[in-house]
Point group: C2
Chain length 283, copies 2
C-alpha cells in the first residue's frame, strides 16, 4: 500500500513538524493555489476537526449546515481511510450483540410472543454508501448548497440537486460491508427487516435495484416518503412510520441510522445505533 | 515539550512501522513483562479503541463494565493528551452557542416569560475532573471492580470504594476549564444553575468545598442523592429531580453531563450536551 504509506508518512512528518514548532504545513499539491485545502491535515486542524466530528456524532453540535472549511481534508481522510470502516464495524458489532441478547431476553420472558421482532434500517450512509459521490463532488462542499434552506430542509431537497439525483438514479452506491453483515445476521436470527428512508417514492425502483445489487434482499418493507410526507422533518416522518409499524404488530427492537433524526422521536426502538456520518446533517 | 515530541515520534514510527507490515510494536518499557500494556498504543489498537470510544460517546455500546483491556493505554493517552481537553472545549462551545440562541428565541417569542431559564450540570467529569484519581489508580482498572454489580449499580456504589471516597473527601478534584468558562458565561446570561449529582448527601460539604475551590460559585441548588434515592438508577433519580425543577417553575433549557444517564429520561432539557468520558459508565 505505497499510497497509504505515503499518507501516513506525511501525517507523521506533519505531526513532528508542528510539535517541534517548525511552522511547516506539508501539502501534497504545494504549487496549486486552488488546492489550498488538499494537503495533509495539520495537527491543530486535526485536533479540532476530530472534536467537531465527535460533537456531530453525539448531537452536541445540533443542526449544522456544512462541514467547517478547515475540516474538508479531515473528513476526506476519515471517510477514505480506515477510521470510517472501523467506526462502522464497531457500530454494527454493538447492534449485533444487542440483537442476540434482546431476542434471548424476549424468549425468556415470553412477554411479547405475539409481536414480530423488527429491525429498522435507514438506507443512505446506513446500508448504502454515497461516499463515491462526495469524493467527486467535494466533501461537504455540495452539502453546503443543499443545506442552504435550513428551515425547510428535508432529505427530499437533496434530490433537487441534479447531480445527486443522477447518482442515486444510477443505483451504483456501494454497500457498507459491516451493515450488510449485520443485516444478514439479523435475518438469520429471525428479525423482520424494515427499510425506512427519506428518499421519495419516485426513487423506489432505483433504490430497490441498488439495494439488491449491493447484496441486500428479503426485506419486509421498503418505506419511502409519499407526497403527503414532503415538508415533514425526518424526525416527524420516521416517527410516524415507526408508530404505524408498532400498530401493525411489529416490536421494533433495534434501529440503525446515520442521523439522529433516524433514531429519535416517539416511538423509539428499544435500542438505537448511530452510524457515523461527518458529511451532512438532516433534521 | 520534549516528552510530547517523543510520544509523537513514537506514535509516528509506530504508524509507519505497522503500515509497512513490519511486525513491530514499539514499547516504552520493553523489558518489563508486567508492563505489557504500558507502551505506545499500536496502530490496530488505536483504531479499534478510537471506534470503541465513539461507540461509548454515542451510547451505541450500551451498558459497559470496563475499558477493554487493549484500550487502557489509549484511554490514558486520550485523557492526558490534548484530545480530552479539545473534546471538552468543543462540547462547551456547542452548549454556549445554543444557550445564547435559546435565550434570544425565548425573549423573541415571549412564550415562557414566567419560567426561570435553568441549566443543569452534573458534577463528576462535568464540572470537576477525577482524572488525577484514575491516573494513579489505573485507567479503567478500578472501574471494573466498582462496576462488578451491574444490576444494582448506581453512582453511590462508587463511594463504597474506600480509595475513591478518600479522593472525593479530599475535595481536590481540579476544575474542567471549558466547563468553568461555560458556567460563568451562563450565569452572565441569566441562567439559573442547578447542580445535580449522583454523589450522596453525606458528601455535600466535601462537594461544596471542592466546587468552590475549583472556581464555581452562586449555584441555585446542589442536589445530591438522599437515602430514599439509593438503589435508583441515575436515569430515574435525575429525571425525577428534573421534573421537580420544572414543577418549581424552572425551564430547563440545557443539561450538561458526561453520562447519557445524566441526560435522558423524561423530562429532558431542550438541548443536552454529552461531555466525553471513556473511563466509566453509569446507568
Amino acid at each position: 500500500m505505497p499510497r497509504r504509506l505515503l499518507l501516513l508518512l506525511l501525517l507523521a512528518l506533519s505531526l513532528v513538524a508542528s510539535a517541534s514548532a517548525v511552522p511547516a504545513v506539508i501539502r501534497m499539491v504545494p504549487d496549486d493555489p486552488t488546492a489550498a485545502s488538499s494537503g495533509a491535515v495539520d495537527d491543530a486542524d486535526s485536533l479540532f476537526c476530530d472534536s467537531w466530528r465527535l460533537s456531530v456524532e453525539t448531537a452536541n453540535a445540533g443542526p449544522w449546515l456544512a462541514v467547517p472549511a478547515r475540516c474538508g481534508d479531515f473528513v476526506r481522510d476519515y471517510m477514505e481511510g480506515p477510521r470510517y470502516a472501523s467506526d462502522s464495524a464497531v457500530a454494527a458489532a454493538d447492534a449485533l450483540a444487542f440483537a442476540s441478547d434482546s431476542l434471548a431476553a424476549a424468549a425468556e420472558w415470553g412477554g411479547s410472543a405475539s409481536a414480530r421482532p423488527a429491525w429498522v434500517f435507514d438506507v443512505d450512509e446506513t446500508l448504502l454508501s454515497n461516499a463515491p459521490y462526495y469524493a467527486v463532488n467535494g466533501w461537504g462542499k455540495s452539502i453546503a448548497i443543499v443545506l442552504a434552506f435550513p428551515l425547510i430542509f428535508s432529505r427530499s431537497l437533496e434530490f433537487n440537486e441534479t447531480s445527486f439525483d443522477e447518482w442515486a438514479d444510477a443505483a451504483k452506491a456501494p454497500t457498507l460491508p459491516p451493515s450488510l453483515n449485520l443485516y444478514n445476521q439479523l435475518q438469520g436470527l429471525g428479525f423482520h427487516i424494515i427499510l425506512l428512508t427519506g428518499r421519495i417514492e419516485f426513487q423506489r425502483n432505483a433504490t430497490e435495484s441498488n439495494l439488491l445489487s449491493a447484496g441486500y434482499n428479503s426485506w419486509e418493507k421498503l418505506i419511502l416518503r409519499q407526497p403527503s410526507d414532503i415538508g415533514k422533518t425526518a424526525v416527524q416522518y420516521k416517527s410516524e412510520r415507526r408508530a404505524a409499524m408498532e400498530a401493525e404488530g411489529f416490536k421494533i427492537l433495534g434501529n440503525s441510522g446515520d442521523q439522529w433524526s433516524d433514531l429519535i422521536g416517539s416511538p423509539m426502538a428499544t435500542r438505537s445505533f448511530k452510524l457515523p456520518n461527518p458529511m451532512y446533517f438532516i433534521s
